[in-house]
């Protein structure tokens, strides 16, 4: 690619020198252009191959980032992820994800949770690997600071404050024209402070932004792309989720940097 640019620079110099005989210069430039385009084509083929390898190869593997070693079902149990709300708060659409209820308290099926969490973490890792913008959202005041700190540590973004109306749907006016919207939104709690579904879920669905959400037994999992049934009220559980997402994102970014370095080495070779 850089050799193509150099060729173009040389060309412009040549054209300036041969300003007198116009036909000659035109002929020269035509030939030169074809020469440079051929050269560029030859040079860019290995580049695209390498880029394709970096971007497309991870998608062919089921667990490219080895995220299954990050957590076990026992860890989820010890972090009390299986504890849901009482029977009266149960949402109808969460019934497939519940294992049962014990003394009126709903118990979430950890086998399904583990599988869905694995899928969600894998998706997050791939998005972070491809340099996507990830937004952490939660409206729980208890964990707002924790989530903001987590987002800062992995270099992504957080929104744990009052959600203004058109943040996603009216973005050029709310921010500035030319703003880039998040490529993935992770909800650590899908409800807002008055126990209604967070506006961000609906807005993300409108703007075709994929969502990952920790859904408790009183939440609606329908509009979320990667729902993860689990407890969102206990500090232990929230710390565990934050830790897991931070580790996945850091891992994915480190892997990308590694691949870029390797690409640099192979390109120079």
């Amino acid at each position: 690619m850089c050799s193509g640019n150099m060729a173009a620079g040389v060309l412009s110099g040549v054209r300036q020198v041969l300003r007198g005989p116009r036909l000659l210069s035109a002929v020269f430039s035509c030939h030169g252009q074809t020469f440079s385009s051929a050269a560029a084509a030859v040079k860019s083929a290995p580049d695209t191959a390498v880029t394709e390898k970096i971007l497309n190869f991870p998608l062919t593997q089921p667990d490219y980032f080895h995220l299954s070693e990050l957590f076990t079902m026992k860890d989820l149990f010890e972090a009390r992820v299986h504890l849901g709300h009482k029977k009266g708060c149960r949402h109808r659409l969460m019934e497939p994800y519940l294992f049962g209820s014990r003394l009126d308290t709903d118990i979430i099926d950890l086998e399904q949770t583990a599988e869905l969490l694995q899928q969600a973490l894998n998706f997050t890792a791939h998005v972070a690997y491809r340099g996507g913008i990830i937004l952490f959202v939660s409206r729980r005041r208890q964990f707002g600071h924790l989530i903001e700190t987590t987002s800062r540590e992995c270099g992504e973004y957080a929104h744990t404050r009052y959600w203004k109306g058109g943040l996603l749907t009216n973005a050029p006016i709310q921010y500035s024209p030319g703003v880039r919207l998040p490529d993935l939104i992770i909800f650590f709690s899908t409800l807002n402070n008055v126990f209604q579904q967070h506006v961000g879920i609906r807005d993300a669905a409108k703007m075709n932004i994929p969502t990952v959400g920790i859904v408790d037994s009183n939440c609606n999992p329908s509009l979320i792309a990667y729902p993860v049934p689990g407890n969102d009220d206990t500090p232990v559980a929230m710390e565990m989720y934050c830790r897991l997402f931070k580790m996945t994102i850091n891992r994915a970014k480190d892997k990308r940097r590694q691949m870029e370095l390797l690409k640099g080495i192979s390109a120079s070779v």
């Binding site: 203004k164 921010y175 500035s176």
Partner: protein, 385 residues
Amino acid sequence: MAASGCRGVRSILWKYGSCGKNFCLSRSKTVPQLPVRQICVSSSLWKKNLAAAGPQKFTQEFIDKQVEEFEIGKRHLANMMGEDPETFTQEDIDRSIAYLFPSGLFEKRARPVMKHPDEIFPKQTAVQWDAEGRPFHFLFYTGRQSYYSLLHDVYEKILAMERHQDKMRNKGLFASETKQILLTGSRWQLKEEIEEYLVENISDHGYMRLIQLLEKLLSMPYCSLEEDFILKFRKQLEVQSSKHEIPALQHDPQGVAFSVADGRRKTAKASITLRDSGSGNITINGRNYLHCFPLLQDREQLMFPLHFVGMLGRFDVEGSVEGSGHSAQAGALRLAISRALLSFVSEGEVERMRQAGLLTADPRIRERKKPGQEGARKKFTWKKR
């Protein structure tokens, strides 16, 4: 508006129509003529929507160019005034501009001004994201990144302080009477000042929340660790009496101390010389004050400042006064005497005098007469029918 719109449409169609004709002439039958669709365009679409444009935005290059021009202009001005361009300060610039462009306008902001562009053009936020579109600040998507990051920092400090407290308790070194931050003589910064500091708009509720968080930080035992941070949000109140300009105490060749001061009331202007001679004589315009002010009330006004500080028989008062009537002249003289007394009196006495109202210039002037009325307030006779 419809007529202008139609005219516009017709002109557009005519332009396109003529272009189409030229096309027909040059390339015959190779390009099929596209049907011209009548688009109704009203003139409101062409006019710039000034209300929706918002405040005018200046690009960074424009402001940099203005800064360059200002620096060059400053050097030209210094050369014009015959001064050294290297040591030409903003005060010199103001003085030179006032000299070169004398203006009789009352509104100071309407007069010609030459200041650094940073003071003239309003501060604007720069582009918030990098080349790939990733925003710089981690709270960018909240819409109010500076304010929320400030709340985040304050909460972080509260948590850190609680952890510190727990550590001290564990070691057994916890002391509840730790050094407190001095808050007397200062107030919390106003919402406008914090908005200026953050370059962002805050709501009243948001401002209250910030102040509540800072108060919570202050209520903790070890708040002195974050003293610098908290004092950033407090503004020192100026002590009122320190603003008084005390006239310099001068000495006669005989060694007698005296001070000179001026005073004004309505249109009367007075100038007083207080001599520390020991007699209680008062001379105004060369005559004794009994001749100038036959009315007791006026003489009481003259006497009041000296009686208040208890130095009635100590000073020799020599004054000149002109303009307005007897009462206004007496008031002007009283103010002048009080100001002259400041150089003979202690700090505490100055504050007492200020609170007694001796040092405040009376701002009342004559109210103008309005048309349709007899005088300033008096109306013509009201007739019911």
